[in-house]
Subunit: 344 residues, 2 copies
DNA sequence: TACAGTTACGGACCGCGTAAGCATA
DNA sequence: TATGCTTACGCGGTCCGTAACTGTA
């Protein structure tokens, strides 16, 4: 068994079992990859992939185990390389981030701008996707960081460092009946069709839950994956928008009336996930610090050295996480339960 | 970086930094090992070992990190090989166990006899040592299982599966004043010089602690590393022996009076440690089951799949661990605190 | 002078890419 | 016929072991 073979194997797993695509990614010839896979399989004595004709169709049960182990081997090997890079004071490197629309569009631009000026020679890769897609990138070691809100159950092999909290905000056109109501009730809100995120309707602090507890059943006019789409349809008068406060653009959204919803809906926590057992380069610590000032190298090291979720949580226990986004007043009043449950 | 280089590196680390010895172990020539180490160091760009002249003297700080990662790489690679062996229904294999004198001498013979008849072609390696020595073997991935009592803090990267509990027993020659006392008190015990294990004097349930809580200060005549030595000196009249109940040999120790000490001294738990993240072969599950019948494959899998010590402990919570050793009566009365703290 | 690591050298092997072959949709 | 994996072939590099060398106790 060679490291190279495991690298090739990982690339195939990351390329939807397409050997040609894997070879391209590896800058190797297709026969080379094909041959090494075959050699590995024959050394192990069983098929990692199921074939139909010559094409790979799916991963065998044993193959899945091998791939999982191979990914861990490669992660450790990468960590060794990074130790070397660090000792050289090497400023070169890459930083791959998987994140959702809201973060990529409204939060990260500022962070990334600062980061680029701090580390101009680090290659930045931003991969936008749904929580599930990001979890898949994480599983295949394709990203260094995952930034998202909720969906903690998808990231079992990551440490999820809490970054900041945010409230949701109601947006309506100026002509809308709610435009004049500074502090609407749930009843008032439920009286209008709602336009919000797809994923806002699942999970324990979902809109559905909140309304249900009040004995209400809201009408959903439309669900979208990002705030820009929601704003567009709110402008068209389709309904009342509920978006993350961070997704408000003070200048561009001037035509919309923004109403704080922090008295109605619980706060969310955005976290950044780092692979357990991975090694962070110096510039990665810098990124964490830029994203969330409380994530100093000291704090991060303490957290990721944890041997258990409980130990991990203890590092952030009692910490006052900052709120982010427009009109995030009286935020501190909210219970810190999301925070303490973050690592599960 | 090649897997082979990491293998060589690990062998050097396991051979007290002696390259020649490492080469012998690897059945490779000494220049080959030397050369690959040098190639690895030059690829990484820093020294893994400090040298004095040409000889390696110690591990550099960065080198220690590299070695730790390398060991993990090799463990994962070994796990992949084992997956292959399992699919072949391969009965060949090896089982290395690190353990203490008491287990090796009094408990394991029976287990190993059964195991050998079940898996005659598996190579068995038993390494006896102190807890510290066993921990070192464990750290270097040189053993599959570690069996010991206490010293849990030395095995942070292992899951410690509880095997059985045992009480200590007092042994005296027939002529000794205590020989007639069926149920001695701590005061009576403290009146005589004591002969017991070295390690019985450390830790939270140590003899020192127990006597101190009763306001007593026993005289220690001699401390030994194993029960056979203790018995020898008890026979010579040096003092009262306190040994593990499992270390009583019904036939050979007929000349000694054995007095149950379970009312005086708390019970101990013997555990078997398996590397976290390692892969267990079928015969390894069989060994666990032979050693401790409650360690079925089902239970073991549930335990080692745990993501945290708490989750791990939950698997064994409420389980009635059997007692082992001569006259282990009314054992169930003891509190299960040792058990619940086992994984820490 | 014994010991431990390094350097030198020649041979075996291994993995690569190119190019041609062959199944499946 | 396009796509995607496999086979054939020749080259270059890599790794090994033997043997001679060098610094240290």
């Amino acid at each position: 068994m060679k490291l190279q073979q495991l690298r090739y194997l990982a690339a195939i797993a990351q390329s939807e079992l397409n050997i040609t695509a894997a070879a391209d990614r590896l800058r190797a010839s297709q026969p080379a990859v094909s041959r090494q896979l075959k050699l590995l399989e024959s050394e192990l004595g069983f098929a990692i992939f199921q074939r139909k004709g010559r094409a790979l169709t799916k991963v065998t049960p044993h193959g899945a185990q091998v791939i999982a182990r191979a990914l861990r081997v490669l992660q450790e090997a990468q960590a060794i390389k990074r130790i070397a890079d660090e000792t050289k004071g090497e400023e070169l490197g890459a930083l791959s981030i998987g994140t959702t629309h809201t973060q990529a569009r409204y939060v990260l631009p500022e962070v990334i701008q600062k980061f680029r000026s701090l580390h101009p020679s680090v290659d930045l890769h931003l991969h936008q996707g749904t929580s599930e897609q990001i979890a898949e990138m994480a599983r295949l070691n394709r990203i260094d960081f995952a930034i998202a809100t909720g969906s903690q159950e998808l990231f079992e092999t990551y440490w999820l460092l809490p970054c900041y909290r945010w409230h949701r905000m109601i947006i309506v056109p100026k002509s809308h009946p709610l435009a004049k109501v500074a502090r609407p009730t749930l009843d008032q809100l439920a009286a209008h069709p709602i336009v919000t995120y797809v994923f806002s309707f699942d999970g324990p602090s979902s809109l559905n839950e909140v309304f249900a507890r009040a004995g209400l059943k809201p009408t959903v006019a439309l669900t979208a994956r990002d705030a820009d789409v929601i704003k567009t349809y709110v402008r068209l008068g389709l309904g009342v928008g509920i978006i993350a406060a961070v997704a408000i653009d003070a200048a561009q959204d001037d035509d919309l009336v923004r109403i704080d919803a922090s008295h109605l809906l619980p706060a969310h926590t955005t976290w950044i996930g780092v692979s357990r057992g991975g090694l962070l380069r110096r510039y990665m610590y810098d990124f964490l610090h830029l994203l969330a000032p409380h994530l100093t190298r000291r704090m991060v090291d303490r957290a990721i050295r944890a041997h258990s979720p409980a130990e991990f949580d203890a590092v952030f226990a009692g910490m006052d996480l900052p709120f982010k986004g427009a009109t995030a007043r009286d935020a501190a009043a909210s219970a810190p339960e999301t925070l303490s449950r973050l690592s599960r």
